[in-house]
């Protein structure tokens, strides 16, 4: 990672509060893992509102409902460490604005996406300079949006989409030791949230697009109670803190009106899925279908948020 030479940098390893084993295994219930209270196909509630930033041509704010165990931990705090975190992010759209002088002529809209974690967004602090995972999210987001925007209607202009993540999903429960199933699962939820929020902000900026593209996540999760031998099950909108091991996960950017996928990101081993009897789909097909279902759910919220801001602007609300 490139070092930020203009600031006094903190230690590169981050500042994670020390957790002592005796504390985390005390059995008081304060530090038990968050349990998924939802049905496998049930999504978390989404808060989405557009037009909150007056200086931007379009903006949106998105928040996922914190899991039930987090609410319980807040009501009856036994530990200072929250059991799980929920996604909170803000998206701004600037433009269409002229391209920089150095840029070549473009007959289309030039899309630029920036995704940045706030330093305090994750349990591990992030630096001021975008690291590779943030750049990666930016590229994925650009792919998801590029398929939805009608770029030829905005010649010679650029559109900047900036997302600030205020609170990110965990990659695993904080009390777990790293193991072989570890991957940046939380990043996939973040990407789904980014896609939905950016789509709302673009609609708020009145940029022509084919459809409101929504993000959705599905994952194959191995059931804890049945032991590790049980075949993994498909769950929608997984909170990584609620599961001991996620085997594979999938994010899609999906346009319901056209039944098209603009972005697909599949990670992990999806070969050993236990589906219902008679379900002939392979694991990754089921995973993609699940993510599309989650995106359809997010789209209803997205459409409602866009319609709400439109109606309040028209003055009919």
């Amino acid at each position: 990672m490139m070092a930020d030479r203009r600031r006094i940098n903190g230690p590169p390893g981050g500042t994670r509060p020390a957790v002592f084993a005796s504390n985390s295994q005390s059995g008081t219930g304060a530090t038990t893992r968050a349990q998924r209270q939802r049905q496998p196909s049930e999504l978390r509630k989404i808060f989405l509102k557009t037009g909150l930033i007056p200086t931007a041509s379009g903006s949106s704010y998105l928040e996922f409902e914190p899991s039930a165990s987090l609410a319980a931990a807040r009501a009856n705090p036994k530990s200072l460490i929250p059991p799980s975190s929920a996604l909170k992010l803000a998206c701004t759209v600037h433009g269409p604005k002229p391209l920089p002088r150095s840029a070549a002529f473009s007959p289309n809209l030039v899309l630029t996406t920036h995704v940045k974690y706030a330093p305090f967004a994750a349990r591990r602090r992030k630096g001021h300079i975008r690291d590779s995972s943030e750049r990666d999210l930016g590229v994925h987001l650009e792919t998801a949006l590029r398929g939805a925007i009608i770029a030829e209607r905005w010649p010679k202009s650029g559109l900047d989409i900036t997302i600030t993540i205020l609170e990110a999903e965990d990659d695993r429960w904080w009390g777990d030791a790293p193991d072989s199933h570890d991957a940046s699962w939380g990043m996939m939820n973040v990407l789904a949230g980014c896609i939905t929020a950016a789509s709302a902000a673009i609609a708020d900026a009145h940029i022509d697009c084919l459809d409101l593209v929504a993000g959705g996540v599905a994952a194959l999760v191995s059931d804890e109670s049945a032991g590790s031998s049980a075949a993994p099950k498909l769950m929608l909108d997984t909170d990584p803190a609620e599961h001991r091991s996620i085997l594979s996960a999938c994010v899609v950017g999906y346009m319901p009106a056209r039944d098209e996928i603009t972005e697909l990101w599949l990670k992990g081993d999806s070969s050993k899925a236990s589906l219902e009897d008679g379900d002939k789909r392979t694991g990754h097909e089921a995973l993609i279908d699940g993510a599309v279902d989650a995106a359809r759910g997010a789209h209803t919220v997205l459409a409602e948020a866009v319609r709400e801001s439109l109606l309040s602007a028209v003055g009919q609300l």
Partner: protein, 252 residues
């Protein structure tokens, strides 16, 4: 919705649309701005009120379906409820296109061309009536945009964010093109009404002022006072009484 008038010929249209919402079939309507066509159906591509423009008997047979960027409710509400708290009005971006009328501020005058930065793109409807006070979109505060732009203190602060354009020497006026002296046509800081003739190259649009209604609309004299036009090529300072040469737009 008053804008929904004239849609009796088909299934009812929604009053407002969001991107991706199906509005009608291409066999009934023609697709206008703010919509796109997918598999013989018209879909909305921006969020806004659905407007049906009735068919022009001579040129088209189908009425045009479009999604407006302008929110009609705002101006009507102001009339209906003058005591309502003034909400911050939404701003929409309109890109300059060929033939659109723009208001621009002169940033640089050279021998062969003048560089301007585009402040406002006027809508077709408003440009034809010329009534700036009836603008309902983001341009409804044209007056404030112009006064702040004409103020020397605000110069060069936001030029990077605006679209740049060129007025070439031969596009300044329609007659005696070879006798044009750019210094006698524009000065830095003038507000010019121009028409876009080309999207131009990577960095500049091309404007023309070769019409009677195009040219300088607001200018300050050397003394710094706002001048009034006295002829198509002269403006005068009301305080000192001295005249200065400009390519003046015909006042409405």
């Amino acid at each position: 919705m008053p804008s929904g008038a004239g849609n009796t010929m088909s299934t009812s249209l929604p009053p407002v649309a969001i991107p991706g919402q199906r509005l009608g079939s291409v066999s009934v309507y023609a697709a206008g701005p703010g919509t796109h066509v997918q598999q013989a159906n018209i879909y909305a591509s921006i969020a806004g009120p659905v407007v049906v423009d009735p068919a022009q008997p001579k040129t088209q047979t189908k009425s045009t379906l479009r999604v407006s960027r302008i929110l009609p409710g705002i101006s009507q509400d102001v009339v209906a409820a003058p005591l309502a708290p003034a909400k911050p009005k939404p701003r929409y971006n309109t890109l300059p296109a060929v033939d659109s009328i723009v208001l621009a501020r002169v940033t640089r005058v050279q021998k062969r061309q003048a560089t301007v930065s585009i402040l406002v793109v006027l809508d077709n409807a408003t440009a034809s009536t010329g009534d700036l006070s009836k603008l309902a979109s983001d341009n409804d505060n044209v007056a404030s945009i112009l006064t702040s732009a004409a103020n020397p203190e605000n110069h060069s602060s936001t030029d990077e964010l605006r679209f740049q354009a060129l007025i070439r020497k031969e596009d300044v006026r329609a007659v005696e093109k070879d006798r044009v002296v750019m210094d006698e046509m524009f000065r830095v800081g003038d507000i010019v009404r121009g028409s876009v003739i080309s999207l131009g190259d990577q960095s500049f649009y091309y404007l023309t002022t070769a019409r009677n209604d195009l040219g300088v609309v607001m200018a300050r004299s050397e003394a710094g006072n706002m001048m009034f036009p006295v002829s198509w090529k002269e403006m005068r300072d009301p305080v000192t009484g001295t005249g200065e040469q400009r390519k003046v737009a015909r006042p409405f």
